[in-house]
Amino acid sequence: MAVVTVIEAIRDAMREEMQRDGSVFVMGEDVGRRGGVFLATRDFLDEFGEQRVVDTPLAEASIAGIAVGAALSGLRPIAEVQFADFIWPTVNQMIGEAARIRYGSNGKLNVPMVLRSPYGGHVRGGLYHSQSVESYFAHTPGLKVVAPATPYDAKGLLKAAIRDDDPVIVLEHKRTYRSVRGDTPDEDYVVPIGSAEVKREGTDASVITYGLTLHYSMQAAAELENDGVSVEVVDLRTLRPLDTETVLESVRKTSKALVVHEDNAAVSVGSEVSALIAEHAFEYLDAPVMRCAGPEIPAMPFAPTLEAAYMPTAEKIAAKLRELVAY
């Protein structure tokens, strides 16, 4: 066991996979000598050389497109988009191409690539270094989307993504990179894609969340425990395919559901989770499904007051939980 940060877990996952499999390589802006702007690939250039640590031009569309082609040819690229705010030029390749190539070739081709990107805010990142982009990709059949929140899950899910035969978008909340520490085992392991996890057991209400708001939800649950309220917290971990069973099992047990995420609420992962609960656990519910999510504004603003107004914090989640429990 080693206690590591999320960014260290991500670095360990990539290094171990590159040591294990010669077809795995990293590409992206500044991944070489700089080691990535968040140091995810620190020292990789020295260990693996220029062939497998490819500094790309500043051009996200082709970072994705070249990764798609390299994956088609039999390699397993890990492409990094430096901030998820810069991921939009890759949409043509990821949603238009990577997601459809297995289907459009009737199974003759597949795209075993990973697109990693730091997302999310509460880091004073302003409009263009804070965005939550997950809904756009999680909407798309043919893609897999994971959003780990702990070092254990980050390492295990990234390894699973690298070994997966389909394109996987790995969204890493940048505020967790250095603020969240945790154990990772010394031995090799993966966290299966498509598996949620109950991070805290409870009986009075279920919070369904992922990413940074997992940690804020855990704080809120701890606070409510002082009031004698037992809150269960489900970490989705994978946003496509969703682990519907784990969500429904929790809601059937507690009969109350609060869906929490930083992304704005409309047409979001939370919309889908809420709909699934309504469809499949309606008769178990003692209250309407409630949501605590980012507001309907284009992105997270820069000024601390405005940022705080955006962010679903532990306090806001706790307040919503009290409303839910009192219903």
Binding site: A59, N106, L109, D166
Partner: protein, 369 residues
């Protein structure tokens, strides 16, 4: 071959061979990037009589097939057709150059490449199953438009209808080739409209930086649906852009099989020898509307098309073969009959085939399905 730093490496690196001037940037500032490859042009006679007759037979089959599916579209049987008529010589010359100079080649093609896919082994029956969306269509299981999907066993991928997305993918494939140390040369085919896509610029830039083994074959028919070349680019020929990427680039008469072969062969051999990417622009013609859904009478003067037909690649190859005694009238008639028979049989088989089962709709979404 001279590599940077070699004692005999020249200081400048303009490749000039025969009548073709390969534009190679003398002003390239990266000191370690200078390269000269001593690469003679392929002699015109390196396409043997046998090759030319094979190309002619393939061109007859492709033209017959193209005309057939166009007629079937007008009969309401084939939903959509994009014609290769006018492009065939460039496409077939490219495939022959790849076969002869880089047997491990791999192709990324686009929707107007019926002669490429046919030369690579896609049969008339298989193409017709695609045009009619029938079961057993090999590229996509009839999920996609005709000619779209993949045949890695025939060395080509033609996946997307989104213009230019295959260009960075082809470059990514070439990166894989280089990483694995393989001898493959990647060929990427696209039209003049595609050249305006930003991803094409990004892909060419990357290919040149890493000196990847790829050839960009630009089939310039001077129209992107209705938009003429003068509204697509401000230069008189696309290959001029090559200089900006520090690549060789050339423009050649794409209706002339032998000239096209020479240019393609030079580019393929350059890539195979480690010389990196280059652009071969084929000046070709489009005799029919963009697709069967287009009406070119609103934007094209019929006289222009009549003029362009004087360059018909099939007529030109026929004139070459018969004029030099390589093709008798009897043999020509027999070859034409063989092409018609093949397309007739293929049409019957494809028309009799069922549509795919609706149960196929959920298959191959991910590795789990």
């Amino acid at each position: 071959m001279y590599w940077a730093g070699a004692p005999n490496a020249p200081k400048t690196s303009r490749i000039t061979r025969g009548a073709q001037r390969w534009v190679w940037d003398n002003r390239r500032t990266m000191a370690d990037a200078e390269l000269q490859i001593d690469l003679p042009d392929a002699p015109a006679d390196s396409l043997t009589t046998e090759d030319l007759l094979d190309i002619y037979a393939t061109m007859l089959l492709v033209r017959t097939l193209d005309e057939r599916v166009w007629a079937m579209n007008r009969q309401g049987k084939a939903a959509i057709v994009a014609s290769s008529q006018g492009h065939e010589a460039a496409q077939l010359a490219s495939v022959w150059a790849l076969r002869k100079s880089a047997p491990d080649f791999f192709c990324f093609t686009y929707y107007r490449d019926l002669a490429v896919t046919t030369a690579l082994g896609l049969t008339a029956e298989e193409s017709l199953r695609g045009f009619l969306a029938r079961d057993g269509e090999p590229l996509s299981g009839a999920r996609q438009f005709p000619q779209h999907g993949a045949a890695p066993e025939l060395k080509f991928i033609n996946h997307s209808n989104v213009i230019g997305t295959h260009v960075p993918q082809a470059v990514g494939w070439a990166l894989g080739v280089k990483m694995r140390g393989e001898d493959t040369v990647v060929a990427c085919f696209f039209g003049d409209g595609t050249t305006s896509q930003g991803e094409v610029h990004e892909a060419m830039n990357f290919a040149s930086i890493h000196r990847l083994p790829i050839v960009f074959f630009v089939e310039n028919n001077k129209y992107a649906i209705s938009v003429p070349m003068s509204r697509q680019m401000a230069i008189e020929r696309y290959a001029l852009r090559a200089e900006g990427y520090a690549m060789p680039g050339t423009t050649v008469d794409g209706t002339d099989v032998r000239a096209s072969y020479q240019a393609a062969s030079t580019a393929v051999r350059l890539a195979a020898m480690g010389g990196g990417p280059s652009i071969v622009e084929f000046d070709v013609e489009r005799y029919l509307p963009h697709t069967s859904d287009d009406d070119d009478t609103v934007y094209r003067d019929p006289a222009e098309i009549e003029e362009a037909k004087k360059r018909d690649p099939l007529e030109k190859l026929h004139a070459l073969l018969s004029g030099t005694g390589m093709l008798s009238e009897e043999r020509d008639a027999a070859m034409k009959k063989r092409a018609r028979d093949e397309v007739n049989v293929a049409t019957d088989v494809a028309e009799a085939a069922p549509f795919p089962s609706d149960e196929d709709v959920f298959r191959h979404v991910t590795s789990e399905t």
